[in-house]
């Protein structure tokens, strides 16, 4: 359960499973979005997920913190089922309160930032620790400043989101997620809504986070980042995992036609 940030070597050697998916299936009405996803993400591992739009990558990410409910299969985070409790051979839906408690341990960063526009940068970071985890205000503020400092926004505590650039907003969003001290971070195309010149500053923060031993699942179009930072690369298409493996190998020597076609267009 407990995980120390920063003890990279120790975390890398331990191979505790953080996320495990078995035949995960998801449909929206008649539309089959995920058709049997199998994968595991170990602790302190960075998994990058690439694929064309509509391939189900974002949906899978949203299933992990139960923003979407899966229709079939099993999904575990840190050894516990997502959204259900197994008792007497049957699955029982979790109450809203229990789902919320699980979500506290999973940070999520969105494509469109979704910062709270009526709060300052610091207010965004401090909100959940104070209101949800009941951390004393003073302590939360101190930690919030530290986190904003860490993502390079030490001079923007009192800025409202509308006064920040896209890259700065996304870095606040990362700090906001980290403020809950999650054991897993989900990134849903974190740089897709950014101007090209601002992508780098966000990737730098994520690279630093990966280095500190955070377990991360990153849906992205940044092939360079996937190659450099990722421990595993997953290529998804039409709800299937087409190919998965070491990023350098998959990128250099894709095995499937579909992967080759996709990579030829994005590389």
């Amino acid at each position: 359960m407990s995980e120390e940030l920063g003890t990279v070597a120790q975390a890398r050697t331990a191979t505790t499973e953080m996320v495990r998916a078995e035949r995960v299936w998801k449909r929206f009405g008649r539309l089959e979005v995920l058709k049997g996803i199998d994968l595991t993400v170990n602790q302190a591992e960075v998994m990058c997920v690439i694929g064309p739009s509509g391939s189900g990558k974002s949906t899978f990410l949203r299933c992990i913190n139960h923003l979407e409910q899966i229709n079939a299969g099993r999904l575990w985070v840190d050894g516990e089922l997502v959204g259900y409790r197994e008792r007497g051979g049957r699955l029982h839906e979790l109450r809203d309160r229990e789902v919320a408690a699980k979500r506290r341990e999973i940070g999520m960063v969105f494509q469109h930032f979704n910062l709270f526009p009526h709060m300052t940068a610091l207010g965004n970071v401090v909100e959940a620790p104070v209101k949800v985890n009941r951390v004393p205000k003073r302590e939360a503020v101190a930690r919030g400043r530290e986190l904003l400092d860490r993502v390079g926004l030490g001079d923007k505590f009192d800025a409202y989101p509308s006064q920040l650039s896209g890259g700065q907003k996304q870095r606040v969003a990362i700090a906001r997620a980290l403020a809950m001290q999650p054991k897993l971070m989900l990134f849903d195309e974190p740089t897709s809504a950014l101007d090209p010149e601002l992508v780098g500053e966000v990737l730098d923060v994520m690279r630093e986070l990966a280095r500190s031993g955070m377990t991360m699942i990153v849906v992205t179009h940044e092939i360079g980042f996937a190659r450099e930072v990722g421990d595993t690369l997953v290529f998804m298409d039409e709800g299937f995992i087409v190919e998965a493996g070491n990023p350098r190998e998959v990128l250099a020597n894709p095995q499937h036609e579909r992967t080759k076609l996709f990579l030829s267009k994005v590389l």
């Binding site: 913190n65 923003l67 809203d96 309160r97 919320a100 408690a101 699980k102 979500r103 506290r104 999973i106 940070g107 999520m108 969105f110 469109h112 979704n114 910062l115 709270f116 526009p117 009526h118 709060m119 300052t120 909100e127 959940a128 209101k131 949800v132 800025a159 409202y160 989101p161 509308s162 006064q163 920040l164 650039s165 969003a173 906001r176 997620a177 809950m180």
Partner: protein
């Protein structure tokens, strides 16, 4: 240094200013003359027509019973708006709830209270005693522990509050619902991903943002409420209008007394308009990069500096915005 051949010029001097003949607007002049004549006629009539009875207006304005009426009108407006807003928020959340029973009850409530005239509702509450002789607390269909005479429980004031507040809640519900729906779903998702409960998300994230959409129509509702309180005169509650009616039924100076009442209504609605301006400003935090100066701030700047021109304003604005980069 300038090199026009490449299309890049490094000189900073702009070319000659354009001096053109402006478009003439004869229509504006004609309209102005017509309006001025009409205004002069109105003022002349106000000053010379004895039937306006300005002396009586001035005497009535600060009469004891009128002032009592003003206080009652303010009390009724504030109380009914507060209850209406609380009721409206509850109804709006019920309406948007995934629970079909709650949603349906809310719909039914709004349908009923918006669908019948406010005056009828007020009369209804005024005469509720004819429908239910007694009101009691007890076991449904079983014995009652306490019983009240409806006539003594529902006073005229209570009936007025019920009539106005229950009706207002229906209108506020639709305003609040529109405000909640205007907030991007990403806000709720972000709050949920941080482990916030539905109630906390609503209270801390959605409603404060929805306020920007909710406030302007709520200001209108408050002004309407202030005027609609005059309807309770039909159940003989001593509001501003009823106080005026009592006076002119004695002195037969109907028009002057009604003018005096109208002056009070105008004064109170003006106060509300000013209040609305400041509340709107408060809730625009974070949406505007820099809040515009209030009229008082602008006046103060004008008096102290004297040099605060619109151009200087834009310069400070630009500076504030530039600091964000």
């Amino acid at each position: 240094m300038s090199d026009t051949a490449t299309g890049v010029s490094s000189t900073t001097r702009p070319p000659e200013e354009i001096e053109s003949v402006p478009v003439r607007h004869p229509g504006r002049w004609i309209a102005t003359v017509v309006i001025l004549i009409l205004v002069a006629m109105l003022v002349h009539s106000l000053l010379t027509n004895q039937n306006f009875g300005w002396g009586t207006v001035a005497d009535t304005l600060f009469q004891g019973s009128i002032l009592t009426g003003v206080v009652h009108t303010i009390e009724l407006t504030v109380l009914c708006m507060v209850l209406g807003i609380i009721g409206g928020i509850i109804l709006a959340v019920m309406r948007l709830s995934p629970n079909p029973i709650l949603s349906w009850i809310s719909w039914l409530y709004i349908w009923f209270f918006r669908g019948t005239p406010l005056l009828v509702q007020i009369l209804f509450w005024g005469y509720i005693g004819a429908l239910f002789k007694t009101v009691g607390l007890g076991i449904p269909f079983g014995p009652e522990f306490v019983t009240f005479q409806t006539q003594s429980l529902i006073t005229v004031f209570f009936a007025a509050v019920l009539g106005l507040a229950l009706n207002e809640a229906a209108y506020m519900a639709e305003i609040v619902r529109a405000g909640i729906l205007s907030i991007d779903e990403g806000q709720t998702e972000a709050a949920q991903s941080l482990g916030m409960s539905g109630l906390l998300t609503m209270r801390r994230i959605v409603l404060p943002q929805a306020m920007r959409v909710i406030i302007p129509p709520t200001g209108n509702e408050t002004i309407s409420m202030l005027k609609n309180t005059s309807l309770v005169s039909v159940i003989a509650y001593l509001d501003l209008l009823y106080a005026a009616q009592l006076i002119y039924s004695r002195n037969y100076q109907t028009i002057p007394v009604l003018i005096a009442a109208s002056i009070w209504y105008l004064f109170l609605t003006s106060l509300l308009t000013i209040g609305q301006y400041y509340i709107e400003r408060h809730y625009s935090r974070g949406s505007a990069r820099e809040l515009p100066a209030t009229p008082i701030q602008r006046l103060r700047a004008l008096l102290s500096g004297g040099g605060t021109t619109p151009a200087a304003d834009t310069a400070t604005l630009g500076h504030g915005g530039g600091g964000g980069q």
